[in-house]
Assembly symmetry: C2
Homo-oligomer: 356 residues x 2
DNA sequence: TCGTATGATGAAAACGTTTTAAATGGTCAA
DNA sequence: TTGACCATTTAAAACGTTTTCATCATACGA
């Protein structure tokens, strides 16, 4: 009997109605009981080493794999990690980078990554409610926290395992991974100052999100330290359409004392800023400078080179995955469930954080 | 003795070990049998209208929702649509756009969208095998087909429902949605010619994929018709890192008779081309032109404006979703399972397709 | 010899659905 | 009255696991 079967079905033919081998199939072949087979495959200690091996071998031969639905029904565990993906993440593959990282963390575990896109029903507290009620997953990951994030509260109340990308200001600690956006903005702005720029502008995060506050705080600290003129372009943010940012820049330039340095929270808005300034006849590096947050390879394509500070979203995803697994495994230790990632700065400027 | 009998209030909480209401809970409350409750909720015809309503009301009151694992175990259906996401789709949110479309198509159906990222185990035929064997989904969507795509063959052999983004050249028809990349490239190249460019270059798709062939064919047809000089920048493609494309452009320009028109299959590669040409002191629209495929808002941010032809990836996703649902429902009619989308062209240039 | 660990296996009961087959009344034609 | 035929409802058997609680040798200290 040649046992190299390309299609899914095996040579011996499983005794199953649906055609898939089950524990019963193995039990019949080996003459053991279903219980024993289940235990052998689960590496239960009470099973003798030789029957264990025999069972494993048969399972391998007939291409057995456990029915997830049955496991899930019996144990209540889903072996699924859900990620909430939001519309803004369409841009520039934010979601995809993070997901790649999560997938990496889940590699080799029994967990699957499933994505619940939130493109339609914009109130994503509903999505979370749905996941909890239908126990769609063993753990949840989502991003862009608010200081008093209702999602975090809901999940905490229900004892549902989760990790956020971003911090909150809630009293009860919860697992998170965050990037130190304060230091990012502080350092970015200091770089502009070091280049001799004295009229600085910020294009930060959308109002309401925790990280937007961090960015603004970092920016403000730097400009106040240096005592230079500043402004926050508050009717646009790093999520705004490129065209809107470009227009805004042009309009601003028509007024008096326009900025000569921009701290940009994202890549697309940096690009749009360049476009707007170019429209006004100004050249990057000559009449003005930009320091932007970089999360992809996009800006490396354009000329002249934009000064950036990197945030590694794939690493973020991987950390979130690992932390969530720890959390699901029962950890309550805040030290191993919370992580604040530092911007990767050139060595000499590293300890730029000020006591505030 | 009358512990929790008639009252619908269910203040006592569900009688379940896991705390979630089940069919049994409703049966106990209404005094009906589990079978009847199941049927009532499934709108089975044999249930009287009044018990149906009563059951529905109770279900609503106590917040019942069926256990997906149990349904899945019993019926063999998963109510899940899987999407295979590949590493290249990290760039520019290809995956996210498509997923948004699929989610839209699945809206209001019992189906969930789950994403199997293929970032790690690069041989994604394995991923498909895994999905089939573990019956992880009722249907599958994936992209970037090859002319003799082994994934398509595997799925067809196993009778697994799927839709591809892209065509194959296999004998047996299968459901697909594709964009007419031939017409895209043909029309893009004709635009360059119309602008007076006579030394044309193509940055197309990665070798091996069906759509890469279509792009090349469209490009070749146009340049041959016009009888102008052409070249295919074969060691780079639209997936190449921006830096690589930029270098390649610079090197090419150092040689003799450099191109003055570029047909670009993607946005990032168009951007990188501009950068490379700018390095050489050349200005878009002046010394050279580009026509690129546009799938996002990225290029609208840069200046001068790049001429583009649009491909709507969200619409593609939505079509794929609808077709897959049709397929799962049992349709075999090729006419409603295959769809070729036309590039959106200005009206006067619309019927550009040549007989070949 | 007994009683008792000990080490390995099994039988059977769940988990929450759907589905097959059967039961219950009631009505109606003969 | 009888049987047949509806319209509703139900009991019970799955689906493939895991888990609780036995069972059954065999070995061991007494």
């Amino acid at each position: 009997m040649s046992s190299r079967s390309k299609p899914v079905s095996s040579g011996t033919g499983p005794a199953n109605s649906r055609g898939k081998p089950t524990l019963r199939t193995i039990a019949d072949i080996t003459g053991l009981a279903v219980t024993t087979v289940s235990r052998a495959l689960a590496n239960a200690p009470q099973i003798s080493i030789e029957t264990r091996n025999r069972v494993r071998q048969v399972a391998l031969d007939i291409g057995y794999s456990p029915d997830r639905a049955a496991q899930r029904l019996k144990t209540g565990r889903t072996n699924v990690i859900a990620v909430l993906l939001e519309p803004h993440e369409e841009i520039l593959g934010y979601g995809t980078s993070v997901m790649a990282g999560i997938a990496k963390a889940l590699q080799g575990t029994p967990y699957h990554l499933i994505v619940m896109p939130n493109f339609l029903n914009s109130a994503n507290i509903d999505a979370i409610n749905y996941i909890i009620r239908n126990s769609m997953a063993d753990g949840l990951i989502f991003s862009r926290t608010e200081p008093l994030d209702p999602r975090v509260m809901l999940l905490s109340e229900n004892g549902f395992a989760f990790v956020t990308h971003g911090r909150t200001e809630l009293a009860t600690a919860h697992p998170f991974v965050d990037y130190d956006n304060y230091t990012f903005a502080y350092e970015a702005t200091r770089r502009l100052i070091a280049k001799g720029r004295r009229r600085l502008a910020l294009i930060g995060g959308p109002a309401g999100y925790t990280f937007a506050g961090h960015i603004q705080h970092g920016f403000m600290t730097a400009v106040r330290e240096a005592g230079c003129a500043y402004e926050i372009l508050s009717d646009i943010d790093l999520d705004s359409p490129a065209a809107a940012i470009r227009d805004r820049i042009r309009r601003r330039y028509a007024e008096k004392d326009p900025p000569d340095g921009f701290t940009c929270g994202g890549e697309v808005c940096a690009l749009a800023t360049i476009t707007g300034m170019t429209d006004c006849g100004l050249t990057l590096g000559l009449e003005y400078d930009i320091v932007a947050k970089q999360t992809s390879q996009l800006l490396t394509a354009i000329q002249p080179r934009v000064d950036t500070i990197y945030e590694d979203l794939t690493a973020t995803g991987e950390h979130m995955g690992r932390i969530l697994l720890r959390r699901i495994a029962g950890s309550n230790d805040v030290n191993e469930l919370q992580l604040l990632l530092n911007p990767e700065l050139p060595f000499e400027t590293q300890p730029a954080r000020v006591a505030d």
